[in-house]
C-alpha cells in the first residue's frame, strides 16, 4: 500500500504539490489524471525517489521514503513518458544493462530478461538496435525495462504515447495481465482518459497540486451522473444567473446539471432561465457516466499550457 500524508513540494515560488493526502491500495491499478502542470510527474518523481519532497510523509509497502529509499526503489519499476532507452544498444543489450543496474545477475538476470521479452513480445527484434525499431516496439521495450526487477509497484507515465491502436491495446492488455498475474500495484498516468477508464480500478484526479477527486472508479462514475444541456449562451449576465442554479456547471456550450436528489428542481430552474431568455437548446443528454466529461467538469476546459 502507498500512503501519502500532507505531501508538499515547491520549485522556488511555484507550488507543485500542496499538502496531498492519498492512499493507494495494494494490487490496484490507479489512474492518475490531471492537466499539464497539475503535479502528476512531480508526485511520481517523489514516490520513485528521483526528487525530494519539501515536507509530508510517504510510506510505500511499509518502507518510509525518508529512511529507506533503497528499499522502496528495490520494489519499484518506472516507465517514463519519454523513451528511456539507449538507441545505439540492441533491445537485448538495453534489457541486460538495466537488469544489471537493478542488481540482477546470472540466471536470475536471464530469467527476468526472458520474462520481459515474452510479455512485451520483443523476440523478433531482440538483436536490432533499439533506435532502429518502430515506435510501438520502442514503447514495448520501454515498458519491458520497467518490469525487469519484478516490481511490486510499477509507475507508468503515458506509456502508450505515439503508438497505433493495436499496439496500445496490446500494451493495455499486457499491463492488466501483469497486475492480475503478479499482483503488481500500478500507478498509471495518461492523457488518454479512455485508457484510464478502461484499465483503472481507482482514479485520482489532481489539479494545481491538489487532489480534487479520488476513489474507486465505479463509485466515482456512478456519483458523477450528469445531465448535459447543449445551448449557446451569448450573454454573460444570463450565464451568471444559470451558474447560480444549484448543481450547475457550464463548460463551453454545455450546461451540466448534477443528477442529485434535487435534479428535477435544478433542471426546471436552468431550462426556465434559458427559455425565458430565448436561448435555443440544441440538445439534452444524460451523460452516461463518462470519465472525460467528469474530468473536464472538475478541471474546467480551459487550456493549461500557458499557465
Amino acid at each position: 500500500m502507498i500512503k501519502i500524508e500532507r505531501l508538499h513540494k515547491a520549485y522556488d515560488d511555484v507550488t507543485a504539490l500542496d499538502g496531498i493526502d492519498l492512499c493507494i491500495s495494494e494490487g490496484s491499478i490507479t489512474g492518475l489524471l490531471g492537466p499539464n502542470g497539475a503535479g502528476k510527474t512531480t508526485l511520481v518523481s517523489i514516490l520513485t525517489g528521483i526528487i525530494k519532497k519539501n515536507s509530508g510523509k510517504v510510506t510505500i509497502q511499509g518502507f518510509d521514503l525518508d529512511n529507506d529509499l533503497g528499499g522502496i526503489q528495490s520494489i519499484t519499476g518506472m516507465v517514463p513518458q519519454t523513451l528511456a532507452i539507449y538507441p545505439l544498444l540492441t533491445s537485448y543489450e538495453n534489457l541486460e544493462y538495466f537488469g544489471a543496474l537493478y542488481g540482477l545477475r546470472g540466471s536470475k538476470l536471464r530469467e527476468r530478461i526472458d520474462f520481459s521479452i515474452e510479455v512485451a513480445s520483443l523476440k523478433p527484434f531482440l538483436h536490432r538496435r533499439a533506435g532502429k525499431c518502430s515506435g510501438g516496439m520502442q514503447r514495448r521495450l520501454n515498458l519491458a525495462i520497467g518490469m525487469l526487477n519484478d516490481p511490486k509497484i510499477l509507475y507508468l507515465d503515458e506509456p502508450t504515447v505515439g503508438v497505433d491502436a493495436q499496439s496500445r491495446q496490446y500494451m493495455l492488455d499486457m499491463i492488466r495481465s501483469i497486475n492480475i498475474e503478479r499482483h503488481t500495484t500500478i500507478i498509471y498516468t495518461s492523457h488518454y482518459i479512455t485508457e484510464i477508464e478502461q484499465i483503472s480500478d481507482e482514479i485520482v484526479m489532481i489539479d494545481n497540486g491538489k487532489i480534487i477527486l479520488s476513489g474507486k472508479k465505479e463509485e466515482i462514475l456512478s456519483a458523477s451522473d450528469t445531465l448535459a444541456i447543449h445551448a449557446k449562451v451569448p450573454d454573460v449576465a444570463i450565464l451568471e444567473q444559470i451558474k447560480n442554479v444549484p448543481g450547475v456547471t457550464i463548460v463551453a456550450d454545455t450546461v451540466y446539471i448534477d443528477r442529485n436528489e434535487h435534479l428535477s428542481n435544478n433542471i426546471i430552474q436552468a431550462i426556465t432561465l434559458l427559455r425565458d431568455n430565448n436561448i435555443n437548446i440544441t440538445n439534452i443528454q444524460f451523460s452516461g457516466n463518462r470519465l472525460e466529461e467528469l474530468y473536464l467538469h472538475l478541471t474546467s476546459a480551459s487550456l493549461r499550457d500557458d499557465q
Binding site: 528495490s74 518506472m78 517514463p80 528511456a84
Partner: protein
C-alpha cells in the same frame, strides 16, 4: 560483474557504435594536426625552401653595388632579379604593390660613396627596401638583417682596403676586422637529457599544443550523451533504480578515458608517420614513453572532468556544446596553444598558469621536445589531476542537487 562494470561496458558499446564521435575526436583533429604541422613548418624552420622574389634597381651602378648584389644572391630564400639601372622608387614600389615581388630593393646613387667612405654619416640612405605588408614579420626581419650584414661586410672590406697598410702595421688582418658571414654564433638546443642536441622541428613544436587542444574536444560527445540521457529519461530511470551519481561519473570517466587515449595515439601516429609522408618533419616521442603515457592520462582525466562539469552545469546540449567549446578556445588562447607564451604581454603570461591546456602542453613539451622524464612532469600532472578531481566533485554535487 558489478554495476560499475556494466555501466562501463554500456558506455564503451555505445561509443564503439557512434561513428560521429570518432570523426569528431580522431579524424578531424588528425586532419587538423596534419594541416597545422605542415603549414607551421615555414614558421619554425629557417632552412625551408621558400623564396622571396626581389626586384632590384641599381641606381648606383657601381662596382660596390654590383658586389652588394652578388652578396645578396648568396642569401638563401632571396631570389634577385637582374638589376635594372634606371628604375624609380615609384616603379619598384608599384611592382611590389602588384604582388609580383615581395621585396623591392633600390640601391641609391649615394651607395658607392657610403661604402667607400667610412666617414659617411647615418643620415645617408644608401639602400631603400620596399616590402609587401602581407609578408610575415619574422621573415622580413630575418632577411633585412641578412642584407644589412652584407652591407656592413662590404663597408668593412672597403675600410680595410683603404687603411690596409696602417692596419697591417698595427697588427690587424682582414679576417680579424671583417666578420665571416656564418658560424660566428654557435647554436645549441638545451634538453633535459644532455646527450641530445638536435634541432626541433615544426611538428615537434606544434603537435603537443594541438594535441592537447584536440583532447578537450571530448567535451562535445560527453555533453551530447549526457543531455540525451537527461532528455530521453534514461537518467531519471537510472536515478529511480538507486544508482549513485558517482557510478555514472566513473562509468563515463573510464570509457571516455579509453577513447581519449586512442585519440592521443592516433594523433601522435599522424605526427610521426603521416606528416612526413606529405613532406613535413616527423616528431620524436622523447625518451620516456611512460612519461608520455602519464601526461596523456592526466590531460585526459582533466579534459573528461571538464566535459562532465560543463555537461552537468549546462541546461541543454546546445548550451553545453557552445560553453564547452568557447571556454576551451579561451583556455587555449591564454594557455599558449595558439600564440606562443613568450610573445604575450607580461600580465597575460601570468594568466597562462591557470589554463589546464597550458599544463598539459608543458607536460607534453617536457617529454617530447625537452626530452624530460617522469620527474619533470610531476608538477603539471598534479595540477591536471587536482583540477580534474575538483571538477568531478563539483559535477557530483550538481548531479545530486539538480532535478531533471
Amino acid at each position: 560483474m558489478n554495476r560499475l562494470l556494466y555501466i562501463i561496458k554500456k558506455e564503451i558499446t555505445e561509443l564503439t557504435r557512434d561513428i560521429q564521435t570518432y570523426v569528431l575526436l580522431i579524424v578531424m583533429p588528425s586532419a587538423f594536426i596534419l594541416v597545422m604541422s605542415l603549414s607551421m613548418q615555414a614558421l619554425f624552420q629557417s632552412n625551408q625552401n621558400f623564396t622571396v622574389n626581389t626586384i632590384v634597381a641599381d641606381n648606383s651602378n657601381s662596382n660596390e653595388s654590383k658586389r652588394f648584389i652578388d652578396a645578396l644572391r648568396k642569401i638563401e630564400n632571396l631570389s634577385i632579379t637582374e638589376p635594372a639601372t634606371s628604375l624609380t622608387h615609384e616603379a619598384v614600389s608599384g611592382n611590389v604593390q602588384s604582388g609580383r615581388y615581395k621585396f623591392g630593393l633600390v640601391i641609391n646613387p649615394s651607395f658607392s660613396q657610403y661604402v667607400k667612405d667610412i666617414k659617411t654619416g647615418p643620415d645617408t640612405t644608401p639602400v631603400t627596401l620596399h616590402i609587401d605588408p602581407s609578408m610575415q614579420t619574422s621573415v622580413q626581419i630575418g632577411l633585412t638583417q641578412q642584407m644589412e650584414q652584407q652591407l656592413i661586410i662590404l663597408r668593412l672590406n672597403a675600410f680595410y682596403d683603404n687603411y690596409a697598410a696602417v692596419l697591417a702595421y698595427a697588427g690587424f688582418s682582414r679576417s680579424s676586422i671583417v666578420p665571416s658571414e656564418k658560424g660566428v654564433i654557435k647554436t645549441e638546443f638545451v634538453y633535459k637529457d644532455s646527450s641530445e642536441s638536435i634541432k626541433p622541428n615544426a611538428a615537434q613544436q606544434s603537435v603537443p599544443a594541438w594535441l592537447v587542444f584536440s583532447m578537450y574536444f571530448i567535451t562535445i560527445p560527453i555533453a551530447l550523451v549526457f543531455h540525451t540521457e537527461k532528455s530521453n529519461g534514461t537518467y531519471q530511470r537510472i536515478r529511480s533504480i538507486n544508482i549513485r551519481s558517482h557510478y555514472l561519473i566513473a562509468g563515463k570517466m573510464v570509457s571516455y578515458y579509453i577513447l581519449s587515449m586512442i585519440q592521443v595515439v592516433a594523433m601522435l601516429c599522424v605526427g610521426r608517420y603521416v606528416v612526413p609522408l606529405l613532406g613535413g618533419d616527423t616528431i620524436q616521442f622523447g625518451n620516456s614513453y611512460f612519461g608520455l603515457f602519464v601526461i596523456a592520462s592526466c590531460t585526459s582525466v582533466n579534459a573528461i572532468s571538464y566535459g562532465l562539469l560543463v555537461s552537468s552545469f549546462s541546461k541543454n546540449t546546445q548550451m553545453a556544446g557552445a560553453m564547452g567549446a568557447v571556454l576551451v578556445i579561451i583556455f587555449a588562447a591564454i594557455g599558449g596553444i595558439m600564440v606562443p607564451k613568450f610573445i604575450m604581454p607580461k600580465n597575460l603570461q601570468l594568466l597562462t598558469n591557470i589554463s589546464p591546456l597550458s599544463w598539459g602542453m608543458e607536460g607534453f613539451l617536457d617529454i617530447m621536445l625537452r626530452k624530460g622524464s617522469l620527474i619533470d612532469i610531476i608538477p603539471e600532472c598534479l595540477l591536471l589531476l587536482g583540477a580534474g578531481l575538483l571538477m568531478l566533485c563539483i559535477t557530483g554535487l550538481i548531479l545530486r542537487k539538480k532535478i531533471y
